[in-house]
Symmetry: C2
Subunit: 511 residues, 2 copies
């Protein structure tokens, strides 16, 4: 007997599409890890074939009808099932709003614009990239128009919505503005009046194998299930929730700077713990009935980033973590590491710098890099900023936020790949992630009064348990705003992050 | 403008199916190499989803119609295009002859029979496997009936045809019988009258990293393009022609027996060189228009095995190869290897033993293991041998062929996975491979009179060039029998293999 309940059928259908999606994820993972270089042209055909199959199935009229049948079931509006159907409807409508011609034009432009961006960045030649960026802005505006501007909102909101559903630029601005003001003040205070910590502990020689062994020991201590995941090496580290029971992290090793790999690994591990906590498998290890449906998916990029940032920064750059981790690192790195104290390492991993490059920025300055991009891309999409004016405005804003002059566009508006790929609305999710992480961390601290002692003893279960309970298991049942309120009792606020940074950095810098 | 030539359309369609097939190959490769254990249930769903898609597309009525349109084009019968269409027709008809219910029943039984076989082998308990083997024999007979018995042939022929197209059991028997007679005589002569070489050179301690470095150096010297392939570690070594420009070999290392990995790697490399030589990519590196069509596929399992055996045995166990390879191995393994001479290593890699296990058998006894299986499975399918009688008949035949008594069914009729998987007709292709390899090797030797000097100097290009010219580039244009006659000027004969073995082993054993 076949179950003809439309809700069951919908879950099955979404599960089938997700299974093909998981194959696509493997194809992409292998391309970054083990594929030989001459496999690239064939790999492009594999990826295109899968993408086309998935697009066909996920925009199929029958799927829309099935969602409609589920909507007619009269499900209790507060039930997970109703949320699942509502999210499925949202995704389906969004996917079917873009005409195929636009999708194809964007895909072709992405590939050519990225190519142009690479050589423009190399030569620090903005003019060479400008026509491609203009085209990408125009295409993104078209895309936003197809999605539709939310009532009372702006065009850019429709783009943010792809990464951070239902969040508007004006709401982000309301949280970002006080954060920016206090952060610029904090950074100036630290760097103009304070004493920077010695970064010598991070500059010891550490063999790749020793770094890998340390990374594996750390992620297992954090709770990452290595029977349901792996850690490999790639040029650009990432986490891929590849399939049920299969979450893959990557990192890269620099024998002269172990901190890059270690914090990168903890960051990706944070993403990976979220993926492992989503209800994608049943207790018997089989893919669950919710796998592939919104109930087994991440809420948003911002919530995903809250997980990576929490483990990387709130835990990984804390004195408590290093109280446990220092002897572990001593064991792997030997005498050069043993020469330093816990306090010296703790201070070294919290060095603040006025760097040009976002991906190299520290915890204190990072959000200023992001907020700069948020302001400028918002203005690009609204039309208030012409692409031709971008380098000048970038450099002026950078100096205002970070207090130093950009020396070349390569280190300025040409540094990130995102815009060449048409990813407008993506940047703010990085800082939203930090904001959520700070607020969640406060809630964890409230729930576990002995948190510091437990972390210092290497017991990280409170952090994982809290996230499993309040974040992971819900999938996309709730939106980010509701999830945050349910988890912390408060709407998102800039205060926890500001307080966290001030309390940590002012003593370290004695500023 | 779309090309509406049905031949072009057919190639495109087969290419699309092959692209999905190449994704399936990646899914299978990853499962054996890097997939974490808890990914298994999700992986099974991925594999099933791809298999189902590929089955749908490759048995689609429209594909049959397209082949029909190509057949009506009046292509020159001797052209590659006509051969391509004829092979495509053959494959399509074969695939569409099996009812879905039978395909499903076989798939389910495979999974359960393999499970039963594993525990039966472990416990050396044939009775526990017997009902599953009976079911598999019955299903294989049903499958053979669906394929149809060739005129004047037997049921078993229809099964062989899946692995070695158009070859009949009676033809195989005609080549196997003289081979078997002379081999049993040779083995008895060597082991009863000769002096076995000292295998000490193979028992040196060799670190995994050193073995891997040696293996990589050897396969690159043989001509394997490591930018279009890889070498990884798996429990069961294999070669996967994964996609155009992407051929993957695997091996496994035993620090106390480097020869296992080295010859295993050379064996898989032989398969890999064939895969790299098939016309799957154009000169610009893009997948070719013939990729996915018979013209870019291997002829048969026997021809594929001829490639692996040639590089492993005819080259790899020759004195000439070790003249070059010994100093290379010295470099990787150091003093323990340097303690032996080229002649000592050459003799050690040619030690003959009366072992029970086929996969551990040496070059001289290996074919006796295979011919035993050929006889018995032929009798199982014809009904002349009842499954219940298998262990007794196995042990009796083994003693007759190899001169020793099987001590337990674990080391006898339960040792191979093949029958639990329903692979009847597969075993003879191993010895056909050795026979083809011997005959091809003779032709190479005729074409290159200075072959020995070149091989001893590490110049293996004559071997690769000959195979590229006479075997690889033709894909499945010719059947195995025709290919052999075109390449060597003679039909397949047992003589080259017998001569090769006698000429090599009698001096080594001084018998």
């Amino acid at each position: 007997m076949t179950d003809t309940n439309p809700y069951t059928l919908l879950c099955e259908r979404l599960g089938e599409i997700a299974t093909l999606g998981s194959v696509g994820a493997l194809v992409a993972w292998d391309q970054e890890t083990y594929m030989p270089s001459k496999g690239a042209p064939g790999r492009a055909k594999q990826a295109a074939a899968l993408a086309s199959l998935i697009h066909q199935k996920s925009t199929h009229r029958g799927l829309g009808e099935l969602i409609g049948e589920c909507e007619a079931l009269g499900l209790d509006e507060s039930s997970p099932e109703a949320a699942n159907v509502a999210r499925a409807r949202r995704d389906f409508d969004k996917r079917t709003k873009l005409p195929e011609s636009l999708v194809n034009e964007i895909a072709e432009t992405q590939s050519r614009a990225q190519h142009a961006w690479k050589s423009a960045r190399k030569n620090s030649d903005f003019k060479a990239f400008q026509p491609w960026l203009e085209k990408m802005v125009a295409l993104s505006r078209k895309k936003a128009e197809c999605f539709g501007v939310p009532e009372g909102g702006e065009l850019y909101d429709a783009l943010i919505d792809e990464y951070e559903p239902d969040v508007r630029a004006a709401e982000i601005e309301a949280v970002f503005t006080p954060l920016r003001d206090r952060l610029t003040t904090l950074v100036a205070r630290l760097l103009d009046k304070g004493t920077p910590p010695n970064e010598a502990p991070l500059r010891i020689e550490a063999a790749e194998a020793a770094q890998h062994a340390l990374g594996m020991e750390v992620i297992q201590a954090l709770g990452f299930d290595t029977e349901a995941g792996r850690l490999d090496i790639t040029t650009h580290p990432f986490c891929e929730g590849l399939a049920p029971g299969d979450t893959r992290l990557t990192t890269r090793y620099d024998t002269k700077f172990f901190a890059g790999a270690l914090f990168g690994t903890m960051h990706e591990c944070g993403h990976g713990l979220y993926e492992q906590g989503l209800p994608k498998i049943d207790s018997d290890g089989e893919p669950s009935a919710t796998f592939g449906t919104p109930l087994a998916e991440a809420v948003s990029l911002g919530i995903h980033e809250s997980q990576s940032r929490m483990w990387e920064n709130f835990l990984g750059r804390s004195r408590e973590f290093w109280t446990w981790a220092k002897p572990v690192a001593d064991r792997h790195f030997g005498q050069p590491m043993q020469a330093f104290s816990v306090d010296e390492v703790y201070r070294a991993v919290n060095r603040v710098e006025r760097s040009f490059i976002r991906v190299e920025a520290d915890e204190a300055t990072y959000n200023l890099h992001v907020m700069l991009r948020f302001e400028l891309e918002r203005a690009l999409i609204s039309g208030d900023l012409a692409v031709a004016d971008l380098p000048g405005v970038w450099n002026e804003t950078f100096e205002r936020f970070l207090g130093s002059k950009v020396d070349a566009d390569r280190n300025g508006c040409l540094q990130d790949v995102h815009w060449s790929f048409g990813l407008f609305g993506y940047f703010p999710t990085y800082t939203l992630g930090n904001l959520y992480a700070a607020q969640f961390w406060e809630a964890i601290r409230e729930k576990y009064p002995d948190l510091d002692e437990r972390l210092a003893a290497g017991d990280f279960t409170p952090v994982l348990a809290w996230n499993r309970e309040y974040i992971h298991r819900h999938g996309r049942r709730f939106g980010a705003a509701e999830l945050c309120e349910r988890a912390t009792g408060r709407p998102l606020s800039p205060d926890p992050l500001i307080k966290h940074l001030e309390r940590k950095f002012i003593p370290i810098y004695d500023a």
